[in-house]
Amino acid sequence: MLLLLFLPFNAVAGVVTEPPPIFRSENYPCSTCHEAMSPNIERRPLQYHQEIDISAHAEDLFWCLNCHDMEERDKLRLINGEKVGFEEVYRLCGQCHGSIYKDWTAGTHGKRMGYWNGRKRYLLCTHCHNPHRPRFMPITPEPPPLRPEETLWKKIRAEG
């Protein structure tokens, strides 16, 4: 696990990616359970992973095994059959979202942290997007600025 903390991202030099969030999931590695189960390619309501909802992500096209490999359960599977680890999830997403992938590689899509002229920390697609439901949910905004009468004037008035 420790080694994975600073995986080199091969496209750009001096860039580090964070380990994919699934590594922190209590369900990982997937093989713990799935090794003993025989794969079921049938589309069906899931009994165990009920929190997973792919109804908002190309629902007519996708099923678990489009992206998750059927044999090696801790790997992802590209369209050409190549197996990739979760730390290379951008290659999987980039198959369909090509222009976004290009922008991400250039550093204009998604978040970079660290140093603008040195070691940059990359976040993977799955750090910000739920892979099963990628569109962002609305969030609560931070409070608005105070109006002058709530801050400066109030203070001055209080002092007479």
Binding site: A106, M113, P138, T140, P143, L152
Partner: protein
């Protein structure tokens, strides 16, 4: 003390004596600031003395060890900023990350970033709203446009300052020397982006909330009667780091880098996206760019 009772004033002799003593005290100890040169004309040793004096003063005022740096600009660097209006959701995370980083007054509130909410389909700044406060963002039918100092290449604020307390650094950042500022606020009137803020009162900065990593021309704690503004987090960016707002943005809408480096993210944006600058027609030439990474979304 012997007083001239007939007029209730200090006698001429006492006045002269006190003035002489006062000048001696000021020049001799502690108050070297009074006789110093403009910041840009100070020698490195003088600057080091100045920084030390401020660190001592802050220690006395807040009881906290605050480091005051004066890191200089890097060779071959001109900072630029880009903000993706297709992505911004108006959550104001940047506003508060900036507040935590830059030591502005909390109680009488000063914020360097103002997030405008505008109606989709039109671009009427005069109808924009920065007090919006819905349950959740983004809201249907609106888009958001954060505005902060645009770090103009031709900054009107610098032009109007009667005492040259604000200027453009070689890496393009517009800075204020708070020791030199006389608080006339002419720069605020000249700025078309409402980017400058004034300390009408002694700033209320709780010592638990102080960021002790400060720059003389940036986020060191201010005093009453001076103007302040965004400095692209000069204390971070001159050491190669990203500004605090860039790292805080949850949707990755904020991009920062060196305009002179052809391989930088900022140059990629300028070359590949639809980019505009706010109030371009004023010829202020901001180094803060707005862009759309998607079609209108």
């Amino acid at each position: 003390m012997e007083k001239d009772q007939s007029r209730g004033l200090i006698s001429r002799r006492d006045f002269l004596r006190m003035t002489a003593l006062g000048i001696a005290a000021l020049s001799g100890g502690g108050c070297g600031d009074l006789w110093r040169d403009r910041f840009q004309e100070m020698s490195p040793e003088e600057i080091q003395d100045l920084l030390k004096r401020w660190e001592e003063r802050y220690k006395k005022r807040y009881g906290v060890d605050i480091r005051v740096k004066a890191t200089g600009p890097m060779e071959g660097v001109l900072f630029g900023y880009a903000l993706d209006l297709s992505r911004c959701i108006g959550c104001r995370r940047c506003v508060y990350a900036c507040v935590r980083e830059n030591n502005p007054s909390r109680d009488v509130q000063i914020q360097w970033i103002r997030v405008l909410r505008l109606k989709k389909g039109e671009f009427r700044l005069e109808d924009s709203e920065h007090y919006y406060n819905p349950e959740s963002v983004p809201e249907e039918g609106y888009f958001y446009m954060p505005v902060q100092c645009q770090q103009c290449e031709r900054p009107p604020c610098v032009k109007v300052c009667p005492v040259k307390a604000t200027w453009k650094e070689p890496d393009g950042i517009i800075v204020v020397d708070y020791d030199w500022c006389i608080g006339c606020r002419t720069c605020m009137a000249a700025c078309p982006y409402r980017a400058r803020k004034f300390n009408w009162r002694e700033p209320a900065l709780p010592k638990e909330e102080i960021n002790p990593d400060t720059h003389y021309l940036g986020n060191r704690p201010r005093v009453k009667g001076v103007v302040e503004k965004c400095t692209f987090c000069i204390q971070r960016t001159r050491e190669g780091r990203y500004p605090a707002c860039v790292e805080a943005c949850p949707v990755g809408a904020r991009k920062f880098g060196n305009l002179l480096d052809p391989g930088s993210e900022i140059r990629y944006i300028l070359e590949n996206f639809r980019v505009f600058r706010l109030k371009e027609e004023l010829n202020t030439e901001p180094k803060f760019f707005y862009f759309f990474s998607l079609g209108w979304a």
